[in-house]
Amino acid sequence: MQPRYALEAQDLGKIYRRWNGPWARALETLTRGRKVGHREVCALHGVSFQLPRGGSLGLVGPNGAGKSTLLKLLSHTTTPSVGRFRTNGRVASLLELGAGFHPGFSARQNAFQNAVLLGLSARQARQRVEEAIEFAELTDFADEPVGIFSTGMAMRLGFAAAMCVEPEVLLLDEVFAVGDLTFQKKCVDRLASFRDGGGTLVLCSHALYDVRQMCDEALWLEHGRVAGVGDACEVTHAYAASQRDEEGRRRLEAAQAPRVDWPRITGAEVVLTHTGLPTRVVRTGEDVEIQVKWENPDPKGHPVQLGVGFVRGDQTLCAAVATHHDGVRLAGSGGVCCLRLPRLSLLAGTFLIKLWLFDDAGVFRYQETALDHDLVVRGDGREVGLVRLDHTWRVEETPELNPWVVSEPVEVSP
């Protein structure tokens, strides 16, 4: 019976030992561990997940979170320190394109070497290498040394050489689309056909968009531990939100030591216009106000301007408006500035509302902060995208495009 899972990990962990030098190591070995000469670095801790055949898993997380370590474990490049895992099917990993290419050898020789290294017999490798070279569009350069190739050509060769193994489980570290745009499309198509053929994919990437597009599920690692696992969209959004909060926190800390006599924002709220009450959840199309309370101890010396921005969970800045763009001035030594948003056009999502206090010219930022809670927008329609465009439809029964242009040609007088 075929096992249900292509990949399964239970409480997987990896501890690297850092030695305090060769002598400390020799001493520890000779005293059979009584004299400790190393410290342990935990790169991965308690990772458990299951990935069914044909499934796809995206690994996300900041640098040093353990993504590459996990891929190395799953590809059998290194062994776990604790826990266990199993793979079912032929595993191939692409941890680095063209690892081990020899610059003096031809594309054909290197591709052959790579295919044999990834587990093909010499006969199989010879057949597939020709396909790989054709796929990489290097037929004219097959016998040229790789050393004279451009970076893009070498990467194309690396990708093609790796894919020609026809794995059942594919582990990718950041590299899945290389070369120019046309070739990247080819790579993506190749991966799509791999997935359509029932292949199981594990992809590690910082490009959250790619993870969402290519993967059903995602695993979010933070400091070697699982911070979230589940649907790719949900997990990547949660990860992006945490990244954004982290960035916001850092910036606030940096900006939090403003001079006492500088202008500042002292509070802000989102208010539903028809109730006049503060809210955290609104619906697309409702009338909303953003109310910002500000102070300016020295209105003559530091005239101010206010900016408000909407940042979605994936860090897309959806819109930003500012008083100096609209010719409004914040006079006096303080007050509340209301930004009215009739028929809110943002579509469903979670938004961070950013606030800036600019100088008169809108260049120098006295303060950069954000509302202390996110604004959740719930959609009621089936529209997709960032915003709802004001729109109407018109249906004409004519076979021509732009019928009014055809029927009434515009005469241009010289």
Binding site: W19, P22, P80, L95, A99, G100, H102, F112
Partner: protein
């Protein structure tokens, strides 16, 4: 399909903690692995061979230049400058030269293999860190390359020796050549694996190997003959010289290559040399396989550091 990419069906993989049985099992698991991945090993050997001669005009002639230059340099220093006759006075000079050159061939191939093997894992750290394959097979590359060079050199040598000194192998010794080849391979593979593993853990190993090889070469009867009649000062050291595995190995090869003509110089019969060398070869093989096995789980982490 001989796929070494791990193809497990429900087998759990946990921390690698080999027990005594795993170390012993390497004695047959390693050759099995090598046979399964023979295409990979052969591709490595071919690649190494090509890489070595890439862009050279003389190409495969280079492996013979080294022992020849060594031989000429030492012949000049010992015979011309020092006026030493390193061989028994009654032996013909041509025979003596042929005897010495046979030893030089064995030694250069051994030294080359050991010094190259000791850096194997680090040299291929790109591969070891980023792809999964039986990395301990990498050591087969210097082993096979150096032994193949030696084999070709030996054939050229047989022709030259026959022409210069009229020597030829004898049937009696050829019968044991198979055993000698097996022991020779076990010896260099074992040492290669052990040193390659040691080098990963302690980077002093390669330097240590270089120094040791130099001292070892002079301590082994390569450029001189262990004959107290020619070199009376040797007398107290004869026990040590005979215990030296490289003495047994070079002498065994001299028997095989020169046949009966080796008799005046040899300290022991071929069978005695083989019997003395066998424990060294098996000991080295086991040590090498065991150390590579012990390192396996951590190899990719260790080469990174």
């Amino acid at each position: 399909m001989p796929h070494h990419v791990p193809e497990t069906h429900g087998g759990w993989i946990g921390p690698d903690r080999p027990g005594p049985a795993d170390y012993i099992a390497e004695l047959w698991r390693y050759p099995k692995r090598a046979a399964l991945h023979r295409d990979l090993v052969l591709a490595w050997v071919r690649r190494e061979w090509r890489a070595r001669f890439l862009g050279t005009a003389l190409g495969p002639l280079w492996p013979f230049v080294q022992p020849l230059a060594l031989f000429l340099a030492y012949a000049f220093v010992f015979s011309v400058l020092f006026g030493l006759r390193p061989v028994a006075p009654d032996a013909s000079p041509a025979l003596g030269a042929v005897w010495i050159f046979a030893g030089v061939l064995v030694w250069t191939s051994f030294a080359e293999c050991v010094s190259r093997a000791s850096t194997t894992f680090l040299e291929h750290r790109n591969l070891v860190q980023r792809s999964s394959f039986p990395a301990d097979l990498l050591v087969l590359q210097p082993v096979i390359t150096s032994f193949a060079t030696f084999a070709v050199g030996a054939i050229v040598f047989l022709c030259v020796a026959w022409f210069v000194a009229g020597t030829h192998p004898s049937i009696a010794h050829i019968g044991l050549a198979g055993a000698l080849v097996a022991l020779h391979l076990a010896w260099i593979l074992g040492l290669g694996l052990a040193l390659a593993s040691a080098q990963v853990v302690l980077r002093d190993t390669a330097s240590l190997v270089g120094v040791t090889l130099t001292v070892w070469m002079f301590a082994t009867p390569i450029f001189w003959v262990a004959d107290p009649a020619a070199l009376p000062a040797l007398e107290p050291w004869l026990g040590w010289i005979e215990a030296n595995p490289m003495h047994s190995l070079t002498e065994a090869w001299r028997w095989v290559l020169l046949g009966e003509s080796a008799a005046p110089f040899a300290r022991a019969e071929l069978t005695a040399d083989l019997a003395r060398f066998a424990p060294w070869a098996f000991g080295a093989l086991f040590l090498g396989l065991a150390s590579a096995r012990a390192l396996r789980g951590e190899l990719s982490d260790e080469v990174a550091a």
